[in-house]
């Protein structure tokens, strides 16, 4: 009797073990779906909602599959460009015009007289406000990858990620000087540009701000190339710039603050003119993972105009205080 009980107990135990093995081999999916080597980007994409001082008030789709640059004019019209075309939208997002051209533009700006400056891979093209190509400069260099252009109507500043230099031209297309070349005596460290994200913009006092993205620094220069100041720090935390080369794009607000966009951890932030972190415009969870190339512009009402290439949209953000004042 005792032996029979032991035999039955052994059989039950054996069946239980076999049952567990079968379940583990063929039905247990939990371990397979878990990656023990997960990088954990989800944690990095979390942010404190109290830091977000802006609301997204509007977004509209653009008809381009390949988009790179966005700009605004003094009337608040929004210009978007990429492969073969410039699309012009009203401040409300209504498509006003489409200006076709050949080649692909990687950056765009509007001069004070309304001329549209398009940065192709290695040269600039000038388009009239009516959409006609009125000038085409010769290629800057064989290695050029033009990523940003700015003008005050007198000088044209071009960021070249291929040559890792900024050029200053006059409006005739004559090179005046190169800006940002490594010069230890002048305290200029030189630009480190690991990937083609190399933005520039003009400040309130006519100074030129350039993102030294490989060093995670903003650098300010006088037009003659003299280095004035720098700020910035690498960090995955919200106060710094993450990854290999950030910020990828920026625009300067009327009070001298900086609005920056980053890739890797997709986020848009505001920094005070001193370089101190101020607030978030948009948190990572407001973007699709992997979004990059978020060019920025500013309209006359202080709205932040963001190009979202992943969603093929223009997205507009307004400060929460301004929104309550009815500035939409």
């Amino acid at each position: 009797m005792k032996q029979r009980m032991i035999l039955i107990a052994s059989l039950v135990l054996l069946l239980a073990v076999i049952g567990y093995m079968v379940y583990d081999l063929f039905f247990s999916e939990s371990d397979r779906s878990t990656n023990p080597y997960d990088y954990g980007l989800a944690e990095l994409r979390k942010s404190d909602s109290a830091l977000i001082h802006y609301n997204e008030v509007q977004q509209f789709s653009i008809g381009l599959s390949e988009v790179y640059g966005i700009a605004t004019d003094p009337a608040g019209r929004i210009y978007v460009t990429g492969a073969d075309i410039v699309e012009v939208f009203s401040p409300e997002g209504e498509l006003l015009s489409t200006f076709p051209f050949q080649d692909t533009a990687y950056c765009i700006t509007i001069s004070p007289d309304g001329t549209i400056l398009l940065g192709m891979e290695d040269h600039l093209e000038f388009m009239s406000p009516q959409g006609e190509i009125i000038n085409r400069w010769k290629p800057v260099s064989e290695k050029s990858i033009l990523t940003s252009v700015a003008t005050d109507g007198t000088d044209v500043f071009i960021a070249d990620a291929g040559e890792k230099i900024v050029y200053r031209f006059n409006m005739k297309g004559e090179l005046i000087n190169r800006i940002g070349e490594k010069d230890s005596l002048a305290g200029i460290p030189g630009f480190v540009i690991p990937s083609p994200y190399f933005d520039l913009g003009l400040g309130r006092d006519g100074e030129l701000w350039v993102v030294n993205s490989g060093r995670h620094l903003f650098e300010a220069f006088r037009p003659d190339g003299t280095l004035i100041s720098t700020w910035g720090q690498p960090s995955m935390e919200v106060e710094g710039f993450c990854g290999c080369c950030n910020p990828s794009h920026f625009v300067i607000l009327s009070d001298g603050s900086f609005v920056t966009s980053e890739k890797g951890i997709e986020r848009v932030k505001v920094y005070l003119p001193s370089g101190e972190f101020s607030c978030l415009v948009a948190a990572p969870n407001q973007f699709d993972e992997g979004t990059r190339g978020m060019d920025l512009a500013l309209d006359p009402n202080g709205r932040i105009i963001l190009l979202d290439p992943w969603r093929s949209q223009v997205r507009i953000f307004v400060h929460k205080e301004d929104e309550s004042d009815g500035n939409r």
Binding site: P36, Y39, E43, P194, S195, G243, C244, K263, G264
Partner: protein, 195 residues
């Protein structure tokens, strides 16, 4: 019996001779086919397409080899030689040095070498790499994507049914010609620094 039937009978010597000749012909034919196949590059090996890879970690555990025949490969032509390398450092790292606690790789298989300010070179030590793809994910998210997973053909047993391919959730594995065994992304792929 018909008289002509006598002609159709085959002698033992003739039968053996014919058999030997046919065997030699078949053997030579087989060898010729094998040589032609080799010369024509029709042999295939397993490889994964980095553009489909999601770095799920299964390459590290599914391979019949231990450690896996899948390794991280560095396409140097794409690398930014960054100080703050997303493929080398843990995301929360604030001090950029070679301390083990700051490194992302679970086996510390990436060697960081100072080149000149502010550039650093990152080299994969294949003996230590387990093919988990953690560094690939970091490089892809924050850098240029110069770190990529590949089946190292000198380590792969080229099984008929690849265990990793069977488990790959993104269908990144396929047979590729043995004379072009690597599938690398980016502008440096024409000259991969691997043999």
């Amino acid at each position: 019996m018909h008289e002509g039937g006598k002609d159709k009978t085959v002698g033992r010597r003739t039968f053996i001779r014919n058999g030997v000749q046919i065997s030699i012909a078949v053997g030579l034919g087989g060898i010729a086919t094998l040589v032609a196949t080799k010369a024509g590059g029709d042999e295939f090996v397993w490889q994964l397409d980095p553009s489909k890879c999601t770095q799920c970690g299964r390459c590290a555990n599914s391979c019949v080899k231990s450690p896996s025949a899948v390794k991280c490969v560095h396409v140097y032509a794409m690398c930014g030689y960054c100080d703050l390398c997303g493929g080398y450092f843990l995301p929360e790292t604030k001090i950029l040095d070679t301390a083990a606690e700051h490194q992302l790789c679970p086996t510390k298989a990436i060697k960081r070498t100072f080149i000149e300010d502010p550039f650093f070179q990152y080299t994969i030590e294949e003996d230590l790499c387990i093919g988990c793809g953690k560094c690939v994910k970091g490089c892809d998210a924050f850098g240029n994507g110069s770190l990529q997973l590949q089946v190292r053909q000198n380590l792969c047993d080229n099984c008929n049914e690849c265990a990793i391919a069977r488990n790959c959730p993104s269908d990144a594995y396929s047979r590729v010609p043995a004379d072009k065994p690597y599938l690398l992304n980016g502008f440096g792929k024409e000259k991969p620094d691997i043999t």
